[in-house]
Assembly symmetry: D3
């Protein structure tokens, strides 16, 4: 198998600490040939650090420079996911784009359409799909152990986790707050259980009280004056087959745990908790709680990057694809719309 | 203060084990003078057991017999709450009616209207209001310790708690299942935090998979063939001030705890968990969890009956009144309607 | 169904506190018509206390007095199990005999032969068979959930539980110590898992160090001078199908728990722990521990007595029968023989 | 003191990770001068990594090359323990041989005889003797705190620990499975408590159900087709002074803990648990559990290697000597023979 | 042995619930023949309830009435301990007096002198001496297991335990607060370890902040306006042999536990904690914590009353005698004096 | 801001591992220019290791060499704190001196007087002031959350923590044992709560039983023959405003925990525990325990060094100053004097 050439767009920490190390580890399949950042010195510094041959401050130049990459990893800010992904697809590259897919449903649909048009892989980096626990949950589901799943409680809650760095509180760059940054991860997991159906009814509420009031931060200090997004979002999604999701996400909430990322899945034969993975069901006519004490932690970024490469080379892969990304982004948009009513 | 005369309508266990003992304990304020049950032998047996002077098998006869009671305690099945309450009010009695208020919103509104018309107290026996924990929650709220409450998670969940006795699975008698029997308790508590506002948006789903499939029971065995109601109900309520409630109730659900009755309350200054009562807030610039290890258990039926008597004698009382009952019943009806969509 | 007549032989606490109350509770099936004890005053006192019509100090007189019982419950000391059981069977009665079956294998075989000859039920009161946990274990076994069971660790251990009363340390009355008094219970459970096979190899050791040295007692004080039996017994049983049992029992042992009664069952598909009931197996390709938090405690004496009555009236019953008793007693004898080598 | 010269035979991970680092740490007493492996490149790689002057692919060449080592560390596969140890002793070297001593009792006896003949130290690397807990157990024993020890339960159990690498499932190389690889460690500890007596009676059973069926592995994946050894072994050993050992070992067993290595020791004055070290006894007339929360972990390989060097230089040492190794190996052989019956 | 006659003085709950039931249980040694209370109806009611032949409202009348009791149990308020005890001794009775001995050292010395003069037993009801834990502590001490004890931390702390009934906050009746009511118990235990020596140096502080401020009560509500005593007392006692006690007692203190009654005893060979009883020492050269999980709870009032009867009949007894009472009371007085400085 | 020049006096591990690394981390404010040790080779080795330009074996030479340091860090033994601090102040340097301040009160007062005379900062390295927990305690105090603090229990206890190295048991070098080495830390914290008042009454006892008897060490082995200091000290301090401190410190004590460093602070409005930081108070009329689960660990040496630099540059600082050091040292001296009585 020939080695794929990958280019990175965006010089932030997600490139530096997640994507480039994962790609480097998979050096038998891929090599990183270029990095592109608006700030050329940043691009060069990363190129030096990770032994990447070329650094650019303009993606167009990169494509023009010859040596077109097979793969583009889009590590830019949310509002740049759409333009840089479209551009990369137009240049004939597979794209591995950071989450969320885009700023709104329209952008995500355009991105999916372009990928289909070009016959290229577009996928989004929802790496929580790769935990041992979620893999086991999906296996139980496909084995029929859960029966039909009819309700899911999906939480990604932080007590005081408004990041004190980056653009996380800037609406025009991020497109939103806790939902679009955190909730999307757990919404992706929940939708994965329900065959990525489109809900027919949504009601939601968003809040920004704590973000705008300020207070103790556990992920650095934020500026309440510049807090433009929701710090918490609660939504109920109902599907045409009568399944439902109760989705909660927060940057800041007066709750116990510093961080609570979990799914509770209720099926006709059994229920499941994601973390720690547990099944609640009947066995030999009695109620049982099944624990799995020997599951191991895995490098989920590495597994997700490998899954993307599998997709690029035509193999079976469990990565979030372009169509799923469009469905998810449209749901996010509808949640925000509902919260405006 | 003169002693009030109370009559009991309905000869089931709720009369025998809850209401009559509470009234007997409050013998300085009230005496039970009559008991009425369709089954006269049942009425007589209870009269004997509890030293009640008169037993009837027809409420009309009771009212006609002279010695009109001041108070009627309506312990009948859900579908009889409306007729016997209306009749008692028409006969000039205060009424202490079991929950839920009625079969639907229209009935509850008629009951409230009749109580207003007659100038009598009508209240519903939502005795969970009387725990030390809820009293403390309300005190914290009125002291401003929680700030404005904007979201509540309210749960009344049983793992396998479909009662194997009574009419709990009969829709025409009960009006519904987990929501109308269990969920109403915790909905009452949640509405009590939000000033008993009327929600402007509701989306809900109900299920009956486990009830209809049958299985292990932890409250006796039920007959899946006769299971006509929902075994689980999940709803999201949104209010005009943007507050919201996520309400979950179940008779049967594949979950861990045998019984889980709780509120999580999220306010701008603090959050609170009802059981065990805990506050999550900032103190001296740091995040704190406040525990209250010395709260005592109380006899909540006794306290609720005493609160009803206070209302009858014109005192301040925290009981669920006729208007609140009508609001709650209408919400229940709207939840069921949403779940039909 | 006609009511069976039962006579009790033996006036000790096992009659007073276990058998008579259980029989009384089952008054729709059985009535206790006579009690017989060497000490007539003891017999009369129990007859008074439990409303039993007749009291005797000689079983022969009882059988001669007319009104032959249908059932005899043999609550005598171990060395009298054989004569009173044989006598009762000869008199045409079903016999419910306390454990252990007898003093040695020969006696137990004679008892079984007489029961067969007379066509009567003879069973032994191994009531630990009736726990919810053992019932569930047997159900898992028959469902095939455990696969083939090949090894069992069976323990009935007390740290300092040499009874300070009765004849527990008297060899000529009891026939032995920890094994014949305690170990038989758990041996019965283990044999029940292995189809009550007869082992082909046994090696065992018995000890009496602590019993003869004396020390702190947790079940009263015993007299080390009169300690004639084993305080601990460890044995390995190997069966012709290569299954094996490791059996440990003690009255006194320098170990942690005051009392430890348990089975660990190792099968090809799953293992099981009896208390708290847990299954260790694979599920969906991962290792799981299955807990059963909602099992309830039951009145095991009542269930065992009811099972005996079922047997007497020709119904399916899970009680220890005469043949099983003979197998078990023979194994006990072989264990003692091995320990003498 | 002059520095001893050591040669390593066998280039596997036990040499690389255990023996060579321990010898290097003890550089004031010993230097590693040569390494020998059938695969010369392996020998050279290890020599490079650990700064060892000479590498050989043939032990005979090594001995012939001049610079005879004082010490040979035999890190070969089980079936080579005998030939390479005999050869080393013949060449006048002390030998530190990996466990188990040999493939059978005959080999181990020959090795002990040769060591005696040559006046050289031969010892086996049972490093679990060197834990703080075992040292304390032995001290309590020699102080008389336990009285006479009469029964020991010795366990080395893994739930799913069939190694997915090496020759652990190959009978002709390993000589057996769970017993010869794991059980020997804990048998050595138990025998050390009982003065390394020879048992007069043994009954044992071995199994291979899980190993041959396949399933989830927690130490890599194994090939059930090539599984030739026992996955579990249960044995009862009885000694002429009536002491006994119940020995359990497994590569795979449907049990709770991933790994359970422990001794329970029952003495006339006290009992002891090895991990966490606890004594159960009487004190001031009451029963006490004595815990030792401040014991420290030690580098048991380092201590065992040091103990071997002590033996080589004529000092007191607690290492497993040649005679003990022969006794142990003979017991292992008799256990396997018993299991064949 | 003839039966002793006992009279009770004082008709409060300590007589009703502690002393009379204990005396009744010991009916083979003692009978209660009279009860005396200022309030005759109270005396008569208790006489009826407990089947006591005579009731008086004046102790003098009782003594004059013939049938002089052998024993007087003084259950009066603290300020009446002295007069009623002196009177009883003058009337030739043994006296079992409630704690504290008296209002000050002078009274207690007079009481001891009168008892000595009359040759009668006077003892004080410090029943905490009778726990299994304290008995074991004393046994370890006398066995030499602790070596010489040189420091004791003695605590009797309540978080919010100002009694809402009785005279506990009235200084002229009680003589003080937390120290004289609660601290005396644990001081008695500590002095019992140090041979009831007299300290040569004392420094102490008392406080009444919470008592005078009011607040939440866990033993009923108290009136801060009438709070005249200390709510907390901290003292350091140093003895001529250099031993020392750190004594803390409180009715109210902002601390974690609702009630904390304990001793920590530091000796040269071992330390001990009273509850749960634990010894900290060296064993076999290592540090051990010795726990005693099988100690049983005992009826300490019954044991203390029996110990008093033993003393009255000339038997060995571990009860607090008149001289010890005088030492203890003098220490209490000196603590209060130190706190005034 | 110009960079301060610092010189280190004393070449022990406290210099090597605490002070020099902290100063290096603060390289934007300070540079280490010289190190001085009686043993020149030690000085040079540290200079090499930490890149310090100059090494001396005589402080006088250092001052004479030109390039006078702005700051001297006095890391010498206790008995040299006074002379080297006085010398440094005379040479116009700020001094950061290790704890305890000196050998006695007179020395500490002279040091404070010299610092005042020279207008230089002298402070002592009580770095426990810098924990998040103590900062929060002080904040609660200044916010009035605790009300007036009236009693403090201050403990620095080790079970067997007599250091097996250094001069810790040498009285002429150290000036004492557990109190002067460990107790001073927690005394400093307690005095910091009480505005560093001077107590008017002190009673204390010191012991050396375990130190002189020898035994198991958890911080190396010590020589009981050379044990000249106290192994435990218990003191009660009473202040003119009636506040009090109960202070306990030990190198060796027969107690449970290996190390127990804590404050319990009792105030009129609330109490506090330092580790884990908890507040005990009333809230909304109920008793609450406030926990702070999200406090972070900090580098307390770094913070204390930074605080010293702040003081040197005229900024607000919470470091222990010369006057506080003198008060503390005088209290230590009075405790030792009291223990001699």
């Amino acid at each position: 198998m020939s080695i794929l050439k990958a280019a990175i767009i965006g010089g932030g920490s997600i490139a530096d600490q997640n994507h480039i190390p994962a790609l480097k580890t998979l050096s038998d399949q891929v090599e990183v040939t270029a990095i592109c950042s608006r700030d050329l010195s940043k691009a060069k510094a990363l190129a030096d650090k990770h032994d990447i041959p070329f650094a650019f401050n303009d993606a167009a130049k990169m494509y023009a420079s010859g040596g077109r990459p097979d793969i583009v990893v889009n590590c830019t800010a949310n509002n740049l996911h759409h333009p840089f992904t479209i551009q990369a697809l137009e240049n004939g590259c597979h794209v591995f784009c950071e989450k969320p897919p885009a700023m709104n449903g329209q952008q995500a649909r355009e991105m999916a359409a372009m990928a289909a048009h070009k016959g290229k892989i577009l996928s989004y980096n929802f790496q929580l799909r790769q935990t041992e626990e979620y893999a086991l949950l999906k296996k139980c589901l496909s084995n029929g152990e859960l029966g039909k799943v009819y309700h899911i409680k999906a939480n990604f809650l932080r007590r005081r986790g408004i990041p004190g760095w980056g653009n996380f509180t800037n609406k025009s760059i991020q497109g939103g707050g806790a939902l679009i940054d955190l909730g999307v991860h757990i919404l992706d997991l929940a939708l994965g259980i329900l065959d990525y159906q489109i809900p027919d009814r949504i009601v939601a509420n968003t809040y920004d009280f704590i973000g705008k009031a300020g207070g103790k931060g556990l992920m650095g200090d934020w500026d309440p004056e510049k807090f433009e997004v929701e710090d918490a979002c609660f939504a109920h999604l109902s599907f045409s087959d009568n399944a439902s999701i109760s989705l909660s996400s927060s940057f800041a909430l007066n709750t116990k745990m510093q961080k609570n990322v979990n799914l509770e899945v209720f099926g006709t034969r059994a229920g499941a908790l994601l973390n720690p993975f547990t099944i609640y069901t009947e066995f030999a006519g009695e109620l049982t709680n099944m624990e799995f004490p020997h599951l191991e932690e895995t490098d989920i970024q590495l597994k997700n990057t490998a899954a993307f490469l599998d997709a690029c080379t035509g193999k079976q892969s469990n990565i979030c694809n372009a169509e799923q990304g469009a469905v998810l982004q449209e749901i996010v948009e509808r949640i925000y719309q509902s919260a405006q009513q």
